[in-house]
Amino acid sequence: MHIVTFAFATAISYVLAVVSYLIFPVLGAPGVSALYVASAIYVPLGIWMGLWGCLAGYMSCFFLGLYPSGYSPVQSFIWSWADFIEAFVPLLIYRALKADLDFTVKRPRAAKLLPFFVSSGSILLLLGIVIQVLWGVAYGEPFTTIYVVLVYLGAALAVVGIILGLLAGNARTWLAQILSIIATGVCSGLWGAGTLTIFNFPPPLPAELFWPVFVGWVLSDYIVLSVISTALLIALTPVFKRTGLLVKGWWA
């Protein structure tokens, strides 16, 4: 049943990936969407079905790379590991924290506010770091002040998000979910934007475009993972538990 679900999930992720890319494209970076809804499917699937979900992410991204993005088969083969990583990082965090998949919401208001605080806090943190890396180190003020303000503000919002998560329900599960959202965007963004601009056979875009593509990639992931993916985890985890599709190890 896992193989069949994996095949169908790959198909769904592929269709959603194409739709997301066509409706919300990051201009100039084919296959990169400002709102990549497909990740809301295979990231929870990685948590539910282990490496089957990661594989679904990889295959859907591979086909997205070929059409409509138009990358060569080799470029797409390398680039698609970004989506594998995107599903693998949350899986790793859940397994490392031994978090039970109990998404029962005890305080609905906290659960509703959580995506806003986590995603906006992480976005501000990321922007602050990018400004510091690109200009703050070389030019100092006023970029350093902008960096400090964004990092403090972002960290404060993210901490509020984490506290809300701990209040929302099972503390360990929600902590794993928040850490997954934050780490996933950065890890897959590094590989995804890196293989589009710095290392591939050959990179389709110039290296100078790394930061614009990286920022677009991570912002999209934060929004989709905190809003849609979390909602799907809450709604469908009981269904996966009931049907025996839930994977406790890596494959079964």
Binding site: A7, I41, L66, V74, Q75, W135
Partner: protein, 275 residues
């Protein structure tokens, strides 16, 4: 049997001789073009690779008008590349145009954001843009000539287990099933009073995001039914077919196509290494 790109965008290879090739040959030809891409660093090398890709597409009976489907990709990537070489970095060379966009007196010097178009920058851009053409043509050649039956029979001929063959087949069927499920769910939402035409974009996005829950539930139900059907026929994921209904052998033309592909990659590797 429609090809992968035929089903997705209506682009198909029309040459019967090319379509008769073994799936391995049909994969090796575009793969060799994509393997040659890293060696095409100069505009001339990239231009030659574009010509080779275009000839391969023409030999397969793919009209170059198929590129229209990738027009948005080509235009946006080209613009982005030119911007990258003029707005985000300075490529030394003969300056053709220069303008300062933003100037700030910072603590450690003056920060300037300039547009600087140089002849070397334009040459770099040309090489990148030509490689995009080659890349798109190789992807088109692959997807417009490979059918899902090719893939499944190809996997069978490679003695792959049923699990892999069934998964490949279900992926293609799954695309259609998902689209049809989506319309069913959308109609159900409309029947309950949702007017998609008049709903604002943000609200519509939320509605579609909510629709993912029934769509995934339907996927689970369907997976259960299909896996039960497979099990009742005695098809286990690891079992392999001892014989098949279809003979799928490599012929002389297939070996020739594979050899041409390998020769192309070796030639570009040698040219890139010598240049």
């Amino acid at each position: 049997m429609p090809t992968v790109l035929g089903e997705l965008a209506g682009i198909e290879a029309r040459s019967e001789r090319y379509m008769d090739l073994h799936v391995l040959a049909k994969i090796v030809v575009p793969l060799s073009i994509s393997l040659s891409l890293p060696f095409a660093k100069e505009p001339l090398q990239a231009l030659l690779l574009v010509a080779v890709s275009a000839i391969a597409c023409a030999a397969a009976g793919i009209h170059l008008s198929a590129l229209k489907k990738f027009l948005a990709v080509i235009v946006s990537m080209s613009a982005f590349i030119v911007l990258a070489f003029s707005l985000f970095t300075y490529i030394p060379g003969r300056v053709l145009y220069e303008a300062t966009l933003w100037k700030v007196q910072a603590e450690k010097g003056v920060f300037e954001w300039k547009i600087a178009v140089t002849d070397t920058g334009l040459l770099y851009s040309a090489a990148f843009i030509l490689r995009i053409f080659a890349m798109i043509l190789s992807a088109t050649l692959l997807l417009a000539s490979v059918t899902d039956r090719d893939l499944v029979w190809g996997l069978f001929s490679l003695k792959m287990p049923f699990g892999v063959c069934v998964a490949a087949s279900l992926f293609f069927r799954g695309i259609h099933l998902f689209v049809s499920d989506f319309y069913t769910v959308r109609e159900a939402m409309s029947a309950r009073g949702v007017d998609f035409e008049r709903t604002p974009l943000v609200k519509r996005f939320t509605l579609y995001a909510n629709a993912l829950i029934p769509l995934l539930s339907l996927m689970i139900t369907r997976s259960y039914e299909v896996s039960m059907a497979l099990e009742s026929r005695g098809i286990a994921p690891g079992s392999r077919s001892a014989s098949g209904y279809h003979l799928y052998r490599m012929r002389r033309s297939d070996y020739a196509a594979v050899a041409a592909g390998i020769a192309l990659t070796l030639a570009f590797a040698a040219w890139g290494w010598l240049a």
